[in-house]
């Protein structure tokens, strides 16, 4: 994936180091260092080629070009680019891995949950993405190198330092 345009993503530059809990409701591009946890329910995370993340990640979509040590839980898809180095477990609905990526850990595909009205209503209230529960329509892992559309930004990323 190409570098996201400024304004589409909140951007953590390569000289930035963050330790602690990072959460938000907009898409995030990390090209620096993050240690702790990253919570982006319903939004996307891109770890750039210089990114070094030592954290558990919870997001809608995750694209890794740099290094990630920690578990990924993505409600939509995970993409591991050829320069990616990942040590940790991945739980997602779809996964794409480019040839050359290094991965050490478990991959578990969770089937897409059928959205029901109750879930949609509660999600709308809380503003968080639903976590797939492994029922309903069968989806399979896809190994494409497509970029995936990562949504528009909304303000609200917070950083809690420890």
């Amino acid at each position: 994936m190409d570098m996201p345009k400024t304004g589409e993503f909140a951007h953590i530059g390569k000289s930035v180091v963050i330790k602690g809990e990072l959460s938000g409701s907009e898409d995030l591009y990390v090209d620096g260092t993050v240690e702790g946890t990253i919570q982006l329910h319903g939004n996307n995370l891109v770890i750039g080629p210089n990114g070094h993340v030592h954290a558990d990640v919870n997001a809608k979509g995750v694209v890794v070009q740099g290094k990630l040590e920690g578990n990924i839980r993505a409600t939509d898809r995970v993409e591991l680019r050829k320069s990616a180095v990942i040590v940790g477990d991945i739980v997602t609905q779809r996964i794409a891995i480019e040839d050359g990526a290094y991965f050490k850990g478990k991959v578990e595909i969770q089937k897409e949950a059928k959205p029901n009205r109750t879930e949609q209503q509660s999600d709308a209230k809380s503003g968080s993405a639903p976590v797939a529960s492994g029922a309903a329509a069968a989806t399979s892992s896809t190994l494409s190198s497509g970029t995936g559309s990562l949504g528009a930004a909304a303000p609200g990323t917070t950083v809690t330092k420890q």
Binding site: K106, I109, S141, L143
Partner: protein, 241 residues
């Protein structure tokens, strides 16, 4: 001179064209296809509707991850050959001989609860891994496989020759594999004897040739062992705990 060398290598590798083809390095992108009887046996378990747990200790293969997750199985991936090239593993034994620290290696790798896996895909790891790690790794694998679980491994025969290329294996069918030449991700270090024993031009090199007795000894703790002879100078071995 070239023809003499060619004749010598032909003698070493045997007359089969398959072996000559196997020894010829291919580009990273090129993939060769081969049938695998061992994989055919493993596929019977893979066809199970119950989700099973598979450990792939070869080079990260997106194809294998897709193949297994599409069938609802959990896959664990861990590139042990690459991990064994970590320079921090180099140490000396009681005689002052340089070896790789197997304790340290197993502290960082193959760390799973006991009896977890139904299938372990070992591929050609034992042929290319440093000798000091092979037995400890097999012992650890035994402990992580469920009783009745299987391990699939490939071993070169002597006819394959010392420069048999290191392949990674992609599962593309019930008994069909694609082979792709492996290139090391980092510069490979000098081996215990001082020679660059793991790599030539950033690729792994065959460390030894196991005969059938060596293989039986290596897997003596397992319940059963089955050999499949193939035409490309590889013995496929299926062991059951």
């Amino acid at each position: 001179m070239a023809s003499v060398t060619h004749s010598f290598m032909k003698l070493f590798r045997g007359p089969f064209t398959d072996s000559a083809q196997a020894a010829r390095p291919v580009s990273m992108a090129q993939r060769l296809t081969r049938r695998s009887s061992g994989l055919g046996e493993v596929s019977r378990t893979l066809r199970s509707e119950e989700p099973i747990c598979v450990l792939d200790i070869g080079y990260t293969s997106a194809t294998n991850i897709r193949y297994l997750t599409e069938r609802g199985h959990k896959i664990y991936s861990e590139d042990l050959l690459e991990a064994s090239t970590d320079p921090a593993l180099i140490t000396k034994d009681e005689q002052g001989k340089t070896i790789l620290d197997s304790r340290r290696f197993l502290a960082d790798n193959l760390v799973y609860p006991a009896a977890q896996f139904d299938i372990v895909l070992c591929w050609n790891l034992a042929d290319y891994m440093d000798e000091s790690l092979v037995k400890p790794v097999v012992a650890r694998l035994w402990s992580t496989i469920k009783p009745g679980g299987m391990l699939l491994a490939f071993f070169h025969t002597r006819e394959a020759g010392p420069d048999a290329p290191c392949y990674r294996y992609h599962i593309v069918g019930n008994d069909v594999l694609e082979m792709q030449h492996v290139e090391a991700r980092r510069d490979l270090r000098k081996g215990p004897t001082g020679a660059v024993h793991t790599a030539i031009e950033k690729s792994f090199r065959l460390q030894r040739v196991f005969n059938n007795r060596h293989i039986e000894t290596l897997f003596r703790d397992f319940g059963s062992i089955k050999f499949f002879l193939t035409r490309d100078n590889i013995r496929e071995v299926l062991v059951v705990r």
